[in-house]
Amino acid sequence: MTLPNKNGRFGDYGGKFVPETLMTALAELEAAYRRFKGQTAFKRELDDLRRRFAGRPTPLYFAERLTRLAGGARIYLKREDLCHTGAHKINNTLGQGLLAARMGKKRIIAETGAGQHGVATATIAALLDKTCDVYMGEEDVERQRLNLFRMELLGARVKIVKLGSRTLKDAMNEAIRDWVTNVQDTYYLIGSTAGPHPYPEMVRDFQSVIGCETKKQCRQLMGKLPDYLVACVGGGSNALGLWHQFLKDKKTKLIGVEAGGRGQAAGEHCSTLSKGRPGILHGSLSYLLQDRRGQVLPTHSVSAGLDYPGVGPEHSYLKDSGRAQYVSVNDKEALRAFRLLAKTEGIIPALESAHAVAYAVRLARKLDKRKVIIVNLSGRGDKDVEQMFSKGR
């Protein structure tokens, strides 16, 4: 059975925990999604944009020097960093953008952490001639200033969120408040597999092009399925995008890498699945970093895109069912992997993706040379260069 069920549940997780004002909008969105997703014209247009605009399919690349350095399993990189706008986020915004246009919405809003989803949303809004407002936390603006300029160049207005934690969590709160207010003419383009139903399902589906291509490329390149699929998890869309086509291939192990931040203490990390417990945030029931009173905890990660106290509900389900395993990589290891991949392969990864690279190297060392690990290199590191530079070489 494919999940979620008709109530938007992955096991116990998911659902629609939103103010009444949004319930009708969610029902309309779901109806539109069901209507268009199988429609030939929609699929053709999306496919065309994926190829000619976003640059798909992306390569599955054998990281030979990295593999030699790790000295174990073979490491392949799924090169989402080569997508137009620099990350996998465009896969989702193309799909939802086309949907918004078919629903007749004039305005698109989004939340963004690292700015990659904001840029991808601003891009599709420019392409489809829609007004676009992107919410971004003040702290994220400071560390990802370049992406703010990119969004503005693309014609979007960036609304800087100064309340609360001033990161992705509060950007999403503000985007939801905007949507509640302007629900009649506004499309809310959520960037991850989080939020109320049908977003977790829809975003996963639009991202699953990653796994579809990967499966085909595996057959061509190695004639077998991979042993491990490793991806970083913030909200979790690049991981689910890679994994979805492999969920039934039980021999392929799925590993999600969360941000371990500066340490184990509350507020120092974003290891939601490793250290959280189920709760409700941003419209769905899922694992959540919270204190014993149910207050959402502050988080820290060197990468703005993983700096989030929640996680998509499907990940909570995959964790409880044991189908996927979740591990943590801290700031230091991620920064080391960031430099390592640049020097060994000539690829500067996004700090988010560097978490997955770090774990893949750790894992490869322990494995036989015949094993295959695929890392979702979900984004490129151009946006992080300034931050790295100011940290000192």
Partner: protein, 277 residues
């Protein structure tokens, strides 16, 4: 009979509309909240909506967000709010409706929450991020407790859905006067009266109107046709302005009093209205 049913029935017999102020518990501290509750009781509040401070109040505008942030400078949550609620019921006789985001209750544990509800001091629950499709587990917990789970209807709720919500509703219907978050607005929504009358007809329950009612003039106008008038941000913003102490109490008392008189006096200036329950 539930506390809310009794309150609204009593008011209906008098031909009065309920004045239903909102404050956030612990804003800026528990002692101040207690004083504000005493003032509300003095000024004739019929029901008080007491907010549980939460880190991510996504249905709230800036005034109530800031109130939650002020309260959260100390580690507070559901339990602290319940302590205030119980005291307000026992010492002031105020019917208390708890306004809580679902995570505060979920995290506390639904089974433990059942015991709280059986203690009899809560009149109702308002959970802004719990639409009726998701409300079955909480409703089950409340069964037989006398605590009503209040349902929302908003301007975007279509007719068929309104009927479904009305069928599941208890206590009163919370009508959100506009699409948006809580907070002060310049003007009231257009067509409010017609909406309220239609909802009352299909629900057979009192209809309280909230969101955007910003001053005594708004309150008085809505009170002419609604069964309850909910005022939050306008009162809460005084805490931001005056902090704590005498200045706050005086300003709060003055505004609450004007609001209460506007609400309670509204129907006297018109022909008597007999709300149908």
């Amino acid at each position: 009979m539930s506390i809310l049913k009794e309150v609204f029935q009593h008011l209906a017999e008098q031909g009065r509309t309920a004045f239903m102020p909102y404050i956030t518990a612990g804003d800026p501290d528990a002692a101040t909240s207690w004083r504000l509750l005493e003032i509300l009781a003095d000024q004739g509040a019929d029901v008080v909506e007491l907010g549980v401070p939460f880190t991510d109040p996504l249905a709230d505008g800036p005034d109530n967000q800031k109130a939650a942030m002020r309260a959260l400078r100390r580690p507070v949550g559901l339990v602290d709010t319940l302590r205030l609620a119980e005291k307000a019921k026992r010492q002031l006789g105020l019917p208390i409706v708890l306004f809580s985001y679902y995570n505060s209750i979920y995290s506390y544990g639904l089974d433990k929450f059942r015991n709280i509800c059986r203690q009899g001091y809560l009149a109702g629950l308002v959970v802004p991020d719990l639409p009726f499709e998701e409300s079955a587990p909480l409703k089950k917990v409340l069964t037989g407790s006398g605590v009503d789970l209040v349902q929302f209807i908003s301007p975007t709720t279509p007719a068929g859905r309104r009927r479904k919500i009305a069928a599941a509703a208890q206590g009163f219907i919370y009508y959100v006067s506009l699409t948006g978050v809580t907070g002060r607005r310049q003007a009231l929504a257009v067509g409010l009266r017609r909406q309220v009358e239609e909802i009352r007809r299909i629900a057979g329950l009192p209809v309280a109107v909230g969101f955007g009612i910003s001053n005594p003039a708004h309150a008085g106008r809505v009170a002419c046709f609604a069964d309850g008038v909910i005022v939050g941000s306008a009162l809460v913003s005084l805490v931001e302005k005056f902090g704590r102490g005498k200045k706050l109490y005086n300003a709060f008392s003055a505004l609450a009093g004007r609001m209460a008189r506007a609400v309670h006096g509204a129907r006297n200036s018109e022909l008597p209205v007999s709300p149908k329950f």
